[in-house]
């Protein structure tokens, strides 16, 4: 039983990416690439990529991709998909990009039921610019723009966008939230991503997968403690699972 399997790098990844130690982005990137490989879509994929830590995805890939203006990936993806209906279009964005500055584009792409897949890495802050508060920052969470802890009475409450999609957009194909805290959750997340991509391949409509992802540097926690925070603090507010399953009867 001594056999150790060689770690296989997904075909679409050609360079190391610049994510911080303990960051969840790398795991999610790998899962997306594995899912594409398993769905035999390695030469049929375009990534419109958001601004923020998500941008680092672009630097490590060897495939068609475009760095979008901050928040506008939902619109760019719409333009791409409308003229390339048979090519997979997957936007890769953080919570600041997709929800704060980009909520109009994110919301309206879902509202129109564009046949695209949206992956949102939710680390409850603006990672790239130094950990400022975002729409997904938890109540009481200290960030560089909420140094006493987020006061939801003046900033609003953390947004749960996949739930909005599942509840309000009857045409949407798929909405789920996963996380990367342990192998079981990672496997589940990969299933969600594959489901979302399959929905798009089947022309079923809009699909979104949000990922609760650790940001140890900006949270001021060790990587292990950051994972623990997700389990203890985030999942109770941001439940993981499929909110709208593929193939469910459309209302």
């Amino acid at each position: 039983m001594a056999a150790t399997r060689e770690r296989k790098v997904p075909a679409l990844v050609d360079k190391p990416m610049d994510f911080c130690p303990g960051c969840g982005h790398g795991i999610v990137s790998r899962l997306i690439m594995e899912a594409l490989e398993e769905l035999d879509q390695l030469d049929n994929i375009i990534f419109p990529i958001g601004v923020g830590c998500s941008s680092n995805l672009g630097a490590g890939l060897e495939c068609d991709r475009l760095h979008c203006c901050h928040g506008r990936a939902g619109a760019v993806a719409t333009g791409m998909k409308r003229v390339s209906p048979d090519t997979l279009v997957v936007s890769y964005q953080g919570d600041g990009d997709a929800y704060n500055i980009g909520i109009a584009e994110t919301f309206n792409a879902a509202y129109r039921n564009e046949n695209i897949t949206v992956i949102v890495i939710n680390n409850t802050n603006f990672g790239m610019t130094g950990g400022q508060m975002s729409l997904t920052t938890m109540e009481g969470q200290k960030t560089s723009t909420s140094i006493y802890g987020r006061d939801c009475s003046v900033t609003g409450y953390p947004i749960r966008f996949p739930e909005i999609v599942a509840r309000e957009f009857p045409g949407a194909a798929y909405a789920a939230r996963g996380t990367v805290t342990n192998p079981a959750n990672i496997n589940k997340l990969k299933g969600y991503i594959k489901n979302a991509l399959q929905a798009q391949l089947n022309h079923e409509g809009y699909s979104i997968v949000e990922v609760l992802s650790p940001c140890p540097i900006n949270w001021g926690l060790t990587p292990v403690k950051a994972m623990e925070r997700i389990e203890k603090e985030l999942i109770p507010y941001y439940p993981i699972g499929e909110f709208k399953k593929r193939g469910e009867e459309q209302k």
Partner: protein, 353 residues
């Protein structure tokens, strides 16, 4: 036979015939009929149309379609074009071609709906962040607008740059007899994203910015050298040369022809590219010319800056004055242009430069 057509509808049909197969935009007077027309027309020719949630989204959808190699279009006016500036800068940065139509209306902020030429500075200087310009075409009739749609796409693809069609409210709303061009066949551009990664130079991810800066300088120098377009008449022996584009440009043509018939030695340069500015036309101006006069639909005088710059550059030995005749709310009547010319000639109007 030429048919009476509304400007915006003729322009939209001309865009389709020039190969535009994607439109995204947001309604705004006086450009809305372009999107109304394309909302049904695109489907007929196998293209796509999206009524975007905002001008921001509209231009970013154009980015997506252009990145996938399709001739893409958006149209707007005043504040809508301001909202598109980040996207236009991005298109220029990524080397993505697109055509942006603006039917200019007067005013700051929300402004008014009246036809105008108040956005000359924004369009000709590259209105967004960074170090770029757009090629700016400024037709003076519906027919010229229609005839420039194909060259607009060809220029935008040749230089991988945004081409702004700078119209005016009047050009969108008026009707004139128009002969439409034939349809052209188009293919996806060779640098299109296809999902197969068969074109490797993509976005900011695989670029050498220092090398690119040199290429950028060379590209803009080539555009300035090769792409100046204008109409001129009577400039070689003129005492005064008018400079005007768009609808005021054609009104001024009427004015100089009447003035010539009355014995006045006047000429006209009507820029067809506002950028690159037609410097070569200025080199033809009579060395003994007494002044250049811009006719503009705005209050503060914008075109006059360029007219002054290029008359000083092409006639270095003499300090030829530059005057601005600025008119707000509608194209000036020909008789007003003529009366104001006589005021300049009589020394009643102070030069701007």
């Amino acid at each position: 036979m030429a048919e009476m057509m509304k400007g915006n509808e003729a322009i939209a049909e001309a865009a389709v015939r020039a190969g535009a197969r994607f439109y995204a935009g947001y309604p705004i007077t006086p450009s809305s009929e372009i999107m109304e027309y394309l909302s049904w027309r695109m489907a007929e020719v196998g293209g796509s149309f999206v009524q975007a949630e905002s001008e921001l989204a509209g231009i970013n959808m154009v980015i997506g379609a252009s990145a996938c190699g399709v001739r893409a279009l958006t149209a707007s006016s005043g504040p809508g074009i301001s909202l598109k500036q980040e996207g236009i800068s991005t298109l220029c940065d990524e080397g993505l071609p697109a055509v942006v139509i603006t039917q200019v209306r007067y005013g700051n902020g929300l402004g008014t709906l009246f036809t105008a030429q108040c956005d000359y500075n924004r369009e000709t200087r590259g209105g967004g962040q960074g170090d770029y310009r757009c090629i700016v075409l400024c037709p003076s009739s519906v027919q010229e607008f229609v005839d420039l749609m194909l060259p607009a796409y060809e220029l935008s693809e040749k230089y991988r740059i945004v081409v702004v069609m700078m119209g005016e409210g009047t050009l969108g709303q008026m009707m004139e007899p128009v002969t439409l061009p034939d349809f052209v066949e188009t293919k996806r551009t060779p640098w299109a994203l296809t999902g197969k990664y068969d074109y490797k130079k993509i976005g900011i991810f695989e670029r050498d910015s220092r090398k690119e800066a040199v290429e950028l300088r060379e590209k803009y120098a080539a555009i300035k050298e090769n792409e100046q377009r204008w109409f001129d008449e009577g400039v070689e022996d003129a005492d005064y040369v008018f400079v005007a584009y768009g609808v005021p440009g054609r009104a001024t043509l009427g004015a100089i022809r009447e003035l010539r018939a009355e014995g006045e030695k006047v000429g006209l340069i009507r820029p067809i590219t506002a950028w690159p500015f037609p410097e070569k036309a200025f080199a033809k101006i009579n060395p003994a010319c007494k002044g250049v006069i811009t006719v503009e639909e705005n209050a503060t005088g914008q075109l006059v800056d360029d007219a002054a710059l290029y008359i000083k550059k092409t006639h270095k030995d003499r300090n030829i004055p530059a005057y601005a005749l600025t008119y707000v709310y509608n194209t000036p009547p020909i008789r007003s242009i003529k009366a104001d010319y006589h005021r300049i000639k009589n020394g009643e109007v102070k030069e701007v430069y």
